[in-house]
């Protein structure tokens, strides 16, 4: 069983969120290694959505995380914020538009477009399917990788959180080529890249609508985080193919122990899809398939 902390900030100001981030780390007994030199932080940048929509990781949240890291690690490591180009998003614009360029100046950290990095081609097999990735050397040479995802519904894979966010570590820009086997592609890259810490930015969440929730989740196990996230979204974890595959590939635990707030409390507060919305979405997605 893996530990997952669930913490709710009383207010969404700097001090309250910082206190919540620290509490979430303490509840899972997470300690940063002290002799680290390179730390990578992977936020979830999706298209050019403002963080206030709940689609992308809030740069202020990442800023708080950087402050916590610097306070807890004595070796003054280099900190890099990483993201890669996607089919419809270019990092050079996303970093600027979404406030990460400003953050990098304020916190003296480096922004890295993984699509411009030297990579190594890697082939991995996921449940009989061979998949090719281009893994940036900077990831392979890092000491700590921190995954800072969002919790969201996603049409194709139902849930996007910790496992899906690592998909953005593949430097290959035309990510649509993986969409046919997206669940397997997500598992494949997680087989190649191990995260040391997942800390979920649930300050603003996107369920059926957007809500300021003040949630911070932390765990060392991305599979456990996604299992909790599925539960919060009221999805049966067994129906989330990605979680099923992750279990088969022994990437982590779908069984977990939560600390802090109860899962029921968070679940109640999360803006979930109601049954009529689910029917509505089903009708629309099928209509779109027929039409396009």
């Amino acid at each position: 069983m893996s530990l997952v902390s669930l913490c709710l900030a009383k207010q969404t100001d700097y001090l309250n969120i910082r206190e919540t981030v620290e509490k979430s780390l303490d509840l899972i007994n997470f300690n940063f290694k002290n002799d680290v030199d390179k730390i990578l932080i992977k936020p979830n940048l999706n298209y050019y959505w403002d963080y206030s929509t709940g689609y992308t990781t809030d740069p202020n949240f990442v800023g708080i995380l950087i402050d916590v890291i610097r306070e807890r690690i004595t070796s003054d490591p280099y900190i890099y914020i990483i993201e890669s180009d996607a089919s419809a998003m270019k990092c050079k614009y996303a970093f600027k538009i979404l406030g990460y360029e400003k953050l990098s100046i304020e916190k003296n950290v480096t922004l890295v477009n993984l699509s411009e990095q030297k990579t190594e081609k890697k082939i991995v097999e996921v449940l009989g399917k061979k998949l090719t990735y281009f893994i940036p050397n900077i990831i392979q040479n890092s000491d700590v990788l921190i995954n800072v995802p969002k919790i969201k519904y996603m049409k194709d894979v139902k849930l996007t959180c910790a496992l899906k966010n690592i998909f953005g570590c593949n430097s290959y820009q035309k990510k649509y080529v993986y969409h046919k086997n997206l669940n397997k592609a997500i598992i494949g890259i997680n087989k190649l890249i191990k995260t040391d810490l997942v800390i979920v930015d649930g300050i603003i969440v996107r369920g059926v609508n957007t809500k300021k929730l003040g949630l911070v989740m932390a765990s060392e196990d991305p599979v456990a985080v996604d299992s909790v996230a599925a539960n919060i979204l009221d999805l049966n974890p067994k129906s989330v193919e990605c979680l099923d595959f992750s279990l088969k590939e022994k990437l982590g635990n779908t069984s977990y122990i939560t600390k802090g707030e109860t899962l029921e409390t968070v679940k109640r507060m999360f803006p979930k899809k109601e049954i009529n919305n689910k029917i509505y979405e089903f009708l629309i997605s099928n209509y779109m398939k027929v039409l396009r």
């Binding site: 050019y48 403002d50 089919s87 419809a88 270019k90 979404l98 629309i284 779109m288």
Partner: protein, 324 residues
């Protein structure tokens, strides 16, 4: 917009679409599929073609000037999408070239061909509102980040949308120019313009703005524009000494999008009615040998107003993006 104009033109009986030029393969495939014989990747090929009488320019702002001047010098009439150009200087060059070449030029302002807005002009002139003291418009959307506000997968944003040199201005130029033109149509000459610009997305271009205009008629008008929202709102409010009016056009629901999609596929509706009417009117003017309006001179005046708004930023020294 090019594909909207193209699909409208092929429905018109008095128009033959001879050629289409576009850098986008997808756009050219679309043109080919609907039966356009001459497909080019460069607009210069169209300008060389002597069988072509008129050109619809629906290009990025930085290409307006060169394309319009080349077309005018080749003796082709021009319909050009708003804004006329990136700045006053380029706008003046386009106007001079059209004048010297003795061709007709028109700027695309679809609100001028929307019945609701046309009727309002008559109501204002007939004194239905009394004296119009204040007026306002809002035009808030996702702007160039269209996938923020649409059903379906995100599509890439062309890089020129991020470049202030290539665009000439941000949301105020892109969206505000519609309202500037509409308000000038309603209230006449502008005597003073100010603005306040906002940069939520840290770009070199403003992604939202408020512009205040004072008219010779005494009307005070505000224009609110933004590229920041996944929701859409377009509204107009007129406040007179006798009567007020407001209309709001907001994001259609997904069901409404689908039903209009089905209607469009069945040929029961034309979503882009005002775009159809503006091109139809342009063609009629060419056939009758009369000057279409809004003319390029109107487009130039709108650019001058926007330029003044950039130069007169409230609480800030001049930081003009459009330069004279």
């Amino acid at each position: 917009m090019g594909s909207v104009h193209l699909s409208n033109c092929i429905k018109m009986k008095n128009v033959e679409v001879i050629a289409v030029a576009d850098k986008s393969k997808r756009a050219l495939i679309y043109a080919k599929n609907i039966g356009i014989k001459n497909i080019y990747t460069n607009y210069e090929e169209i300008i060389k073609d002597k069988n072509i009488d008129a050109l619809i320019i629906s290009l990025p702002n930085f290409l307006h000037k060169d394309c319009a001047i080349a077309a005018a010098e080749a003796g082709k009439h021009i319909f050009i999408e708003k804004p006329l150009a990136r700045n006053i200087l380029e706008g003046e060059e386009i106007c001079t070239s059209i004048e010297h070449s003795d061709v007709k030029g028109m700027v695309g302002y679809p609100l001028r061909f929307d019945k609701r807005y046309i009727d309002l002009k008559a109501d204002i002139e007939n004194g239905i509102f009394g004296a119009v003291i204040t007026a306002s418009t809002s035009n808030i959307s996702s702007g160039p980040f269209s996938s923020r506000g649409q059903l379906g997968r995100p599509v890439p944003v062309p890089s020129w949308w991020f470049d202030k040199e290539l665009l000439g201005g941000g949301a105020l130029l892109d969206l505000g120019v519609h309202s500037v033109n509409l308000f000038r149509y309603y209230f006449g000459d502008v005597i003073e313009t100010h603005s306040q610009l906002g940069y939520r997305f840290n770009m070199d271009l403003e992604d939202h703005a408020v512009c205040i205009m004072k008219f010779k008629s005494g009307t005070l008008a505000t224009i609110k524009v933004g590229w920041f929202s996944s929701d859409i709102i377009r509204s107009l409010e007129i406040n007179g000494t006798i009567k007020n009016i407001s209309f709001i056009q907001s994001s259609p629901s997904k069901l409404k999008i689908i039903s209009s999609d089905i209607k469009k596929k069945l040929g029961l509706t034309n979503e882009y009615n005002s775009f159809y009417h503006e091109i139809n009117y342009f063609i009629d003017c060419l056939n009758l040998g009369i000057q279409p309006i809004p003319s390029v001179d109107e487009g130039l005046m709108d650019l001058k107003i926007i330029s003044e708004a950039y130069n007169n930023q409230l609480g800030k020294n001049s930081n003009a993006l459009i330069r004279d």
